[in-house]
Amino acid sequence: MERQIYLDNNATTPLDPAVVKALQPYLYDRYGNASSVHHKGVEAEQAIDAQRRLIAHNLNVSPGEIYFTSGGTESNNLVLQGSVRRGMKKKQHIVTTAIEHSSVREVIDKLESRKIDVTRILPDEKGRISVGQITGALREETVLVSVMHVNNETGAILPVEDIGKAVHNYNSDITFHVDGVQAFGKYPVDLTYIDAYTFSGHKIHAPKGIGGLYIDEKCYVEPLLYGGGQESGVRSGTENVPGIVGLGKATELMFAEREKMLERLSSLRNLLVERLDGIADVHLNTSLEHSLPSTLNVSFPPVPGEVIVNGMSEKGVCISSGSACNARRKAKSHVLAAMGLEEKYIESSIRFSFSRQTGKTDINETFETLKELLPRLKKIARLQS
């Protein structure tokens, strides 16, 4: 396969060469354990602290509120499991949405099986969730609200800052968590009314296996992992120093280029939408006004999304049907289903997701490949009753 076009950046992103360059010394010479007292240890500790300050600076919070983890899944688990008290006599209640990532959804399902009440807010047909829907669900016994910032399947942006403000107005004891994995570094966030914010490295051109979590200093989160007491005791385990350095560098690059990138991706997405418009039966599942321009979810009924993905893959173009994690479980997209989409649109949906590295040629070539592929697939799909 000669050509490689990668438009599956919501699943993961390629490493940025500058990130590789920054972390490489920590794979070789600077191998110290940050807990060691000798100079090798200090060297590692200094590197970690510098990244913590850098990320805190970009999020406008204090360094002591940033914790490093193995990634988005761990961060979400840590804050969700750690902020609901066990063995409480009093009824506890959680508010979340029906469009969360599995690493939030599955944890909350688990908590629900332990007799904790859960309210899941459905989005409208454009994938939006309003502040009023969340506040309307709050109760006296609500202890936790968890809402994602940007949806991984549709790119829909949720008004987390306003939700946070409203939740805290209602009861400042409620922990308000935001899964920011798809937004971090791509879309601005004001953490004033947010108690916990999840982010991940590999969605922003840093390595897999590194992520982080902002936790407001006023919040207490029970650890998942106990041991050497690293990360102020919140997350024990020898720090992934090269990962942390990579995450720091990636954060720096993303925040520096964010506005320019959004503008550019917006015009790239518009270009793709414009060209797709010429194809019969195309259906947009992403609302262009209410989403991050790095994602475009569309359907081509009656062709199964997975078949389009396979066909594009043969031609060297990587896209996705639903979210990558869902594809493995062969589940129909819970996000599109929650939006009330017709079955035929859900089954035939595909997702293009762009990154800083995506260019105009990628978009044009992807479109041409798709245009060439679709008629044949449509013919076969139509013949099946």
């Binding site: 078949v307 062969k330 044949r376 013919k379 076969i380 799909a381 099946q384």
Partner: protein, 399 residues
């Protein structure tokens, strides 16, 4: 006392083995043990209905693991090799008993077989004397029905062998001793189990998987590769995987044929393609994971139509198995977890909603004439990928 010599002792099932057949069986088994367990042939020897092997203790876990996957082996054990001296036997047995006692064994029995009639004691005398010794000095109780440990004593012409805890081998016949077949593998639960049963009866197995990109994805093919990797461990030498290009046939089929006969028609084309490979590679027959009545293609009427697409022998070792029996074997051989991964081997587009359970032969003949079969089968073979998986070697390599 010096450390006694340990030897590997392998038993096989002799029933039904005569003359040349027997010699071929034993030679094949020795060569399989040598190949799969990496024991040089010179360290393996056949004597009096057993295969003996020299091996180093540090390789024991690896060798034992591999012996459980060599068809033809009935049981195996590590035995102590002793001279023809009752005193030394007693000393060794007592030492072994004390170890077992420490490990928690409370009851025991002695089971002696004597083929060397010159030895001072007969089997019964050994059982009694040695039993007393162990009972008194290792403080264990005799239990001849369900002992915690059995001490096996074999007094043979060359030595006395003492062993405990023989391990079960997989039984069956050495792979290849009955010829070779080409199995139609699908990625589901059944066909790997069929492969295992065929190998157990001494057939060398290669696989053919019908790939139809883009309707079936690379992940479905990867799943089949992983199944073949697991199966190839039992196939001793290596296992080939043929991946013909099936898309052309399916696409034309959907356009030209009524939906109700797709299932049977696809299977007929698969068999015809497999038959071409059979001729080319000289297999003795085809095989499938069908069991009767599970799905539409497995009614007797449809199986008959499928079989009439070629003149070749088609083996279906799972006929008569229940699904739960198949699943339990799949779990045992390690294919189950791979098979249940959700990548479909057939795209929903080619699976009719309401397949006919009784497709008529003249109907098939009529419908099939609409397809450009020769060209399509030729295309399936020209665009075929051929891959080779060799036992343990490929298990950890990345492609």
């Amino acid at each position: 006392m010096q450390e006694s010599e340990k030897i590997l002792m392998i038993g096989y099932d002799e029933i039904g083995l005569k003359g040349n057949n027997r010699r071929d069986f034993i030679n094949r088994l020795i060569s399989h043990i040598s190949h799969a367990a990496h024991i040089p042939q010179k360290d393996l020897e056949h004597r009096q209905g057993r295969i003996y092997g020299n091996f180093s203790q540090e390789r024991k876990p690896e060798i034992f693991n591999r012996l459980t996957k060599i068809f033809g082996i009935k049981w195996f054990s590590e035995a102590e090799l002793l001279p023809h001296s009752y005193e030394q036997l007693q000393e060794a047995a007592l030492k072994a008993a004390k170890v077992k006692k420490k490990q928690g064994a409370e009851t025991f029995k002695i089971e002696t077989r004597r083929s060397n009639k010159d030895f001072e004691l007969n089997s019964r005398q050994i059982n009694v004397q040695l039993g007393d010794e162990v009972r008194i000095n290792a403080e264990m109780q005799v239990d001849v029905h369900t002992p915690d440990v059995t001490f096996f004593v074999e007094v043979r012409r060359d030595h006395i062998y003492l062993y405990t805890d023989p391990h079960d081998g997989p039984g069956g016949l050495p792979v290849g001793s009955n010829g070779s077949v080409l199995l139609l593998i699908s990625g589901g639960i059944d066909s790997p189990v069929a492969a295992w049963h065929l190998m157990k009866r001494g057939l060398a197995v290669d696989c053919v998987y019908f790939h139809s990109p883009p309707y079936t994805g690379e992940k479905a093919l990867e799943k089949v590769r992983n199944l073949v990797r697991v199966l190839s461990q039992w196939n001793i030498e290596s296992m080939q995987l043929f991946v013909p290009y099936f898309t052309g046939i399916q696409e034309q089929m959907v356009e030209e044929m009524p939906e109700s006969i797709w299932t049977v028609a696809q299977r007929r084309y698969m068999h015809r393609i497999a038959d071409r490979l059979l001729e080319r590679e000289s297999y003795h027959g085809l095989a499938t994971g069908d069991s009767v009545g599970q799905v539409a293609s497995q009614t007797l009427e449809n199986l008959q139509q499928i079989d009439q697409s070629t003149d070749t022998l088609v083996l279906r070792p799972l006929t008569g198995f229940d699904k739960d029996e198949i699943i339990s074997i799949a779990k045992e051989i390690g294919s189950f977890e791979i098979s249940i991964q959700p990548y479909e081997d057939c795209c929903v587009l080619f699976a009719p909603g309401n397949p006919s359970t009784r497709v008529k032969g003249d109907r098939l003949a009529y419908e099939e004439r609409k397809l450009d079969d020769d060209a399509l089968i030729e295309e399936a073979l020209t665009r075929m990928q051929v891959e080779n998986y060799s036992g343990y070697k490929d298990q950890y390599e990345m492609s």
